[in-house]
């Protein structure tokens, strides 16, 4: 049955995606929800929580506040915190009850901004979508609000914004640094990385980039905005392996010249009898499939259980949001590459290759999440 899961986990939700996306940028994120719901994010979705004083709070909404639609309390509490901490910006993200009662978070944000003078945006998350939606919203809102419109695309400069970089997809295992190194190795520079290892001031300069690289589906909304505003073309893909890392570097160079967007991993040949299945986010998994194909000649298809977009899935890939939609797709796979929490629904006799994802299993297998950027994969 749709929407039920007998045994598998659930992905990080949109509101947590917002917090993760904005974590390092010096802002303040407020989840508008009941007390305690933020500790789920801190514990399971945020490996940086212990070591960094990033400002992520919850509004501690109570039944009576919700019945009365007492937005003034929310506005007042956020204003008070803002006056204490002076964040660079404030994001207020919604959850099921505010959605249900129609709380106007953009209006709340306008009021907070009026009172504090701090840029504030209200994001219409509702905990019923995955982090892809939340991260997308957060990065797009940032781009619209902060990217300096006076800048222009520096074509041929080799400056690249990396969009969609969060620990939810990449953990904290050095993948972000490895992407910077890979860019440098290929004659590019990381103009900004959205959003690990970069400051808000670097993100503000995003308009200068030559090309953008979306390393997750959740980086595409910002990529499209930057294209619209600055004409910056984007390439979607993660430089996994060595062969595909080279392919992606070439795609970046080509996009710089042609000004056209590209999704190099989606043009994988149609494989009726793919030898392996990868379960995961579309850009990540599609790139991995392409990389495995180049490295070991293994044909892979992607099963994407998250929101995706047209053009990110190859012909033999599938979208499958629920446990009951995923199970029938796993039957004929020789190898299945997926987070270990998918193991119980995979055929007992399959070759299961664990590839954990923070967005699915949280911190449980964190130490086993490999950095696969621009190096031999050794998965199959």
């Amino acid at each position: 049955m749709k929407q039920t899961a007998r045994i598998i986990s659930v992905y990080t939700a949109d509101v947590m995606g917002v917090a993760s996306a904005l974590f390092e940028l010096g802002g303040m994120t407020v989840m508008h929800d009941a007390s305690g719901c933020n500790s789920t994010y801190n514990t399971h979705d945020e490996p940086r929580w212990y070591d960094h004083d990033s400002l992520v709070f919850i509004s501690a909404l109570t039944e009576m506040d919700a019945i009365m639609g007492d937005d003034e309390k929310l506005i007042r509490d956020i204003t008070e915190a803002a006056e204490e901490f002076h964040p660079r910006f404030i994001a207020v993200a919604g959850t099921p009850i505010p959605m249900m009662i129609g709380t106007d978070l953009p209006a709340v944000a306008t009021e907070v901004e009026k009172r504090t003078g701090i840029p504030c945006f209200g994001l219409k998350t509702n905990s019923m979508h995955s982090y892809i939606s939340g991260v997308s919203m957060a990065f797009e809102a940032l781009a619209r609000r902060f990217c300096d419109e006076r800048l222009s695309r520096e074509k041929g400069s080799g400056r690249v914004n990396v969009l969609g970089m969060t620990p939810l997809d990449f953990s904290v295992n050095g993948s972000d640094g490895a992407i910077r190194d890979w860019l440098a190795k290929n004659g590019f520079t990381a103009n900004s990385v959205w959003a690990m290892g970069s400051t808000l001031d670097e993100l503000i300069e995003a308009g200068r980039a030559d090309v953008n690289l979306a390393v997750s589906c959740d980086g595409l909304a910002a990529a499209k905005y930057l294209k619209e505003k600055f004409g910056t073309p984007y390439v979607a893909g993660v430089p996994f392996g060595t062969g595909f890392a080279d392919t992606l570097a070439s795609a970046l160079a080509r996009a710089s010249v042609t000004g056209k967007d590209a999704v190099p991993f989606a043009a994988r040949p149609m494989e009726w009898a793919a030898e392996a299945a990868i379960i995961g986010e579309s850009v990540y998994s599609g790139s991995l499939a392409a990389a495995l194909g180049l490295e070991s000649g293994v044909s892979c298809r992607v099963i994407c259980p998250l929101e995706t977009e047209a053009g990110l899935l190859a012909e033999s890939d599938s979208e499958a949001l629920d446990e009951d939609e995923i199970i029938p797709l796993l039957g004929n796979s020789g190898a299945i590459i997926a987070d270990p929490m998918y193991r119980p629904i995979c055929p007992a006799d399959c070759r299961f290759v664990p590839l954990p994802s923070e967005a699915f299993s949280g911190r449980i297998y964190r130490k086993d999440i490999p950095n696969l950027i621009d190096r031999q994969l050794k998965l199959l």
Partner: protein, 255 residues
Amino acid sequence: MIQLAVYGKGGIGKSTTVSNISAALSEAGVKVMQIGCDPKADSTSALLGGKKIETVIELIRTRGRDIPLSDIAFEGYMGVICVEAGGPTPGLGCAGRAITAVLELLKEKGAYEKFAPDVVIYDVLGDVVCGGFSVPMRSGYAQKVFIVTSGENMAIHAGANIAVAVENFKDRGYASLGGIILNRRNVKSEDEKVAELAQDIGSKIVGVLDRSDTVQDAEELGKTVIEAFPESAMAGEYRALAKAVMAECGMEVKL
């Protein structure tokens, strides 16, 4: 204990009708509790000299849940026990949850046992837009639903919608339709339209109230017609209605 819920389009005269029924029954020695289920919280004001009482929601919000029943319920005309659920200001919050929370609290505090009314009447906001507004018609609450309507199209549509809700829930042991109360506005073909509604929803007209200035006169005094103009023809109509409504609920009242 008989419980009934009265629904109908906003402004159609539910509260006026319900208050007069409560007053009429009370005069006949029936102990009545009238519970206003509308954020406007004006269901019972005619029983309280035009005064609006503090709502349960406001009391919970300001004083917490440990409020005594004596602070929640007020004695009105001829001993009618008056309660107003309250709710958020328009455009905000969740009025449905407000109603649910209040009715749950009344049960939790044993209000029904403490006051031991013979009849409980729920006067419910006009448009049943979400689950919370159907709580008064659920099992454990009203056994019968009455719809107040005029011949105006919007009132008829609202009435039909309420009937749909009642019908949808018929397998759940919720209230059944007691009937329609025609509160005349003297629009064209009013009687025929309402009769047609009754037929469409498989119900009947249990009472008819004429359009009368007496109603407004009483309102201006902050009283029910029963109290302000007991000898009037309108008072007679309210008494007849009260008797008919009670008869539908299986109670014979001498009025």
